[in-house]
């Protein structure tokens, strides 16, 4: 066992991209070199991050690879990192998607290339930090740090109403997260610590004064920040704008990872710190999640714009995650975590595919395509594969997570499961219908006749997605057996609830 690396691996994985960004800053403006350098850095980081699942003790619950160093003595802030089975896979998802983002941006970003990759690398560091942080302060720090690079990526490299989208994205998230900051500060004022486990213990043992009165508000403070990020209906309106105007890499990371910050936050902090409030608030949250599932799907169905359709499908899919989380069942939470990963891969893939066709035709309108399967057979094949993964075809990754979530929801209350299950049908409708309109039939527009099929680089971008979707679908246990103990730990305070529900 490589214990030396175990102590520093989290720090390495967080800061390798940042170091890369700093190096890029002084590198000369030769676009090709910059792209290759970014690819090398992100790949290196992916390989490094694989250390986590390889050396992870699956039987052990709780946080691993922990590092806890005092950072600022007053207030008592610790550089405290650690991963459990849930956050570990989200970290790997991030490091997996970033090199693909570099590849997909290879040609489409040709102006201010250096700045683009610097922002991308900074964003990666911030995202990884969010998932690893075990100190509430450090968590908030990274949480806010994701905002700037993402807003700049949208605003500088997007298209159309990019400035509007960037500012809207920034303001929505910023305003929501100050409530979380207020809640974090309150907890610090009462417990004298930012440490997640310490605060959890203090709350559990009832040492926090005035907690009973403040807890509903604290719960809401955290929840609002996360709900906007997810985005849960009715806080979702920033998402379609941000997605449509964002550059491809921005969309991929936005859908693939940024949205998961919200669901991860609910899982870790709302459930972890406020089990009782989570329980009492669960009914209306689940209703919102169900509305999100159905509403997202229905709106997706009528979108004329491919990217907007995928964006609304995210709202629908993330609804599943929230549904699973607030079912407080082992299956539901396992499934929720798995959907997060599967959605990251599949929807990330869909956004890449949309970006690839945009590079050729500069439009996302479904009506501008039709019959693409004839000139671009390889592209059509990859697209179909990814669509099927997203729809939840058995043996591909979407199925496992949704199945688990629904079985968890059923156990909580059958009506939730039934309504949620319609979401699966909806997603098949809108995605397959879009697929049909874009790829089948005769080529409608003359320009589409001569579109070149996928290049080698583009295939290199898509193969990992397809492979991951398949492996996750066939062998989900690789993921689940690490997720399972972590979920059990999260659910410990809920066990009485679970037994009550099961016993019924």
């Amino acid at each position: 066992m490589n214990t030396g690396l175990d102590n520093s691996i989290l720090t390495l994985v967080i800061f390798v991209p940042l170091a890369g960004a700093l190096l890029l800053l002084v590198l000369p403006r030769r676009d090709r070199d910059i792209r290759i350098f970014s690819l090398v850095i992100t790949l290196l980081n992916f390989v490094l991050s694989l250390h986590l699942p390889v050396h992870f003790h699956r039987a052990v619950s709780g946080f691993q690879y922990e590092i806890d160093r005092p950072w600022i003595p007053k207030p008592n802030i610790h550089y405290h990192l650690g991963v459990d089975g849930i956050s570990m896979w989200l970290v790997v998802l991030t490091t997996f998607l970033t090199p693909l983002c570099v590849l997909v941006s290879w040609k489409s970003i040709h102006e201010r290339v250096k700045e683009f990759f610097i922002l991308l690398l900074i964003l990666e560091t911030a995202l990884i930090g969010v998932f690893m942080a075990l100190d509430l302060f450090v968590f908030y720090f990274f949480w806010e740090s994701t905002l700037i690079p993402m807003a700049l990526l949208i605003g500088m490299y997007g298209h159309g109403r990019k400035v509007y989208a960037a500012v809207k994205f920034f303001m929505y998230t910023m305003i929501a997260s100050v409530f979380m900051l207020a809640a974090i500060l309150w907890l610090y004022a009462k417990t004298g610590s930012f440490d997640f486990t310490a605060i959890q213990a203090a709350i559990h043992s009832g040492q926090v004064e005035n907690f009973a009165g403040a807890a509903p508000w604290l719960f809401l403070g955290f929840f609002l920040a996360f709900a906007v990020k997810v985005p849960l209906f009715p806080f979702h309106t920033w998402l379609p704008d941000a997605h449509v105007e964002a550059p491809t890499a921005g969309s991929v990371l936005l859908a693939g990872v940024l949205l998961k910050m919200g669901t991860y936050g609910m899982l870790r902090f709302n459930l972890g710190l406020f089990p009782e409030q989570s329980r009492s608030n669960a009914p209306w949250i689940m209703v919102l999640a169900l509305i999100g599932i159905v509403y997202g799907a229905l709106v997706a169905m009528v979108q004329p714009n491919m990217k907007k359709l995928i964006a609304y499908s995210s709202i629908s899919h993330l609804g599943f995650v929230v549904l699973g989380i607030f079912s407080f069942t082992q299956a539901g939470l396992d499934g929720a975590t798995f959907v997060m990963l599967a959605h990251g891969v599949a929807t990330g893939g869909l956004f890449m595919l949309a970006g690839i066709i945009y590079e050729r035709r500069h439009t996302y309108e479904i009506a501008d395509y039709g019959g693409l399967a004839t000139p671009m057979p390889k592209y059509a094949a990859f697209f179909l594969f990814t669509v099927l993964a997203s729809v939840g075809l058995p043996l591909l990754n979407g199925f496992i997570g949704e199945f688990l979530v629904l079985s968890g929801a059923f156990r909580d209350r059958p009506i939730y499961g039934i309504l949620g299950a319609t979401g699966v049908i909806w997603s098949a409708c809108y995605l397959l219908w879009m697929y049909q309109r874009v790829f089948f039939g005769k080529v409608q527009h003359e320009v589409n006749q001569t579109l070149p099929d996928l290049s080698g680089r583009e295939q290199a971008t898509l193969w990992p997605i397809a492979a991951a979707a398949l492996v996750m679908g066939v062998a989900p246990l690789i993921w689940l057996n690490a997720i399972d103990p972590a979920v059990q730990t999260v659910l410990t305070p809920f066990t009485d609830l679970v037994s009550r529900v099961v016993g019924r």
Binding site: I72, K74, P75, E144, A166, V167, M171, I175, L185, W186
Partner: protein, 488 residues
Amino acid sequence: MNPIPDMTQTLPQAADYIRILPEIVLAIFGMIIMLLDPLMDDRSSQKTLGGVALVGTLTALVSTLYQAQFPGLGFWNMIQVDSFSVFFHFLVAAVTAVVILTSFEYMRVQEIRAGEYYALLLFGAVGMSLMSSAVELVLIFIALEISSISTYVLAGFRRRAAISSEASVKYFLLGSFATAFFLYGVAMMFGATGSTSIVVIGDVLRSGQVPLLAYAGVALMFVGLGFKVAAAPFHVWTPDVYEGAPAPVVGFMSTAPKAAVFAVLLRLMFEAHAPGRIWLIWVVAALSMTIGNVAALVQDNVKRLLAYSSIAHAGYLLVAFAAFPDNGIPAVMFYTASYAAMNVGAFAVVSHFAGAGERYVTLEDYAGLGRRSPILAGALTIFLLSLIGIPVTGGFFAKFYVFSAALQANLVGLVIIGVLNSAIGAYYYLRIIVVMYMREPQLDAPTTPVPMGLGVALAVSLAATIYLGVLPGRVLDYASRSVAELMR
């Protein structure tokens, strides 16, 4: 106890002079500049006089560090050197140095030839330094006047622009009025407690019955000081004066005098144990934050925008005054330091871009700056992010300490107003960043290279902003020492 010391009995000792050493240094250098100015021809004088002023502030910095080894009272208990005063002396001298560095280029571009500009900066710094070490209300008043009169004149230095003279006159008239309030408050305080010494007042007010007159005294003094820090509802002068005054001067007067006045407020509120502190602060802080941020939303002139932002920041800062001294005092001091770093830096960039006659100060003029001069735009972005309060910058920890101090004092309402305001605030700072990076350049304003002086000024303020954002511990520790000093 005899509140009025007998000055005839003892002459000042050497130690007394060490306790005002930075002020002496600054005053001497100011006078040297006044003497040199008529002896030199117009063309060469600017650089030389600026250089002399810079040497003066740096010498003052060094003498502050030297002075720090001799803490104690001086000049018949009117001056107190402690880590509190050293902190603010250091801050004032550093800000002055950065402003002088920024002014080199500005004065050349604006074709302002007047040596007394630098002299006035130094004299202003004398007053501000003195404010932080004075523990005698009358001396504080004198120091306040020294500092204010210098800034009144400095505000009118763009003599060719009517708006600048307007700024100067407006600032002077309203400012004198505010100072009168302060003086009236001092008189009432003397009537209530029989002393003008902050230490004695503190002892009297702590000992028991608080006379009604003391409340009136505190309120009136607060009006005067609130005017100087541009806290609402005493803020109306701010946007006009900031718009008219030369940009480097705005950078100066939005940071150094404010820091000094906050030092006075700290002494008054905590060391003198001013009664009625919490509700007074509560109202003014909430008003300042809200009015500043809301009004800033609709500004198109960058200087006006930053003026309203400074009102808002005065509000954030005041929040900490309502907290317990243990964490309120360090939070205030940390905030003043990081606000000084980021605001002086932001105005350094603004004064560079303003161009001859300050033509380019509207938001539109900043379009495409990210392309035209990436380094300056990058620096301004970091300052603005710090003003928003984004992590890794000093502004983040500043807000953080203030709000967590307030929460520890159970001021939940004020904190909620504060965090909501900082979210609103993000919008208008962000507007500048958006315009710089996401709009095409609209005019072919000349992109002049960054001169050495400005480069150093920016590097210093950037380094300070980032340092306070990554390793705030040392500065906060230093500031925490003042708690014991003020709360004897």
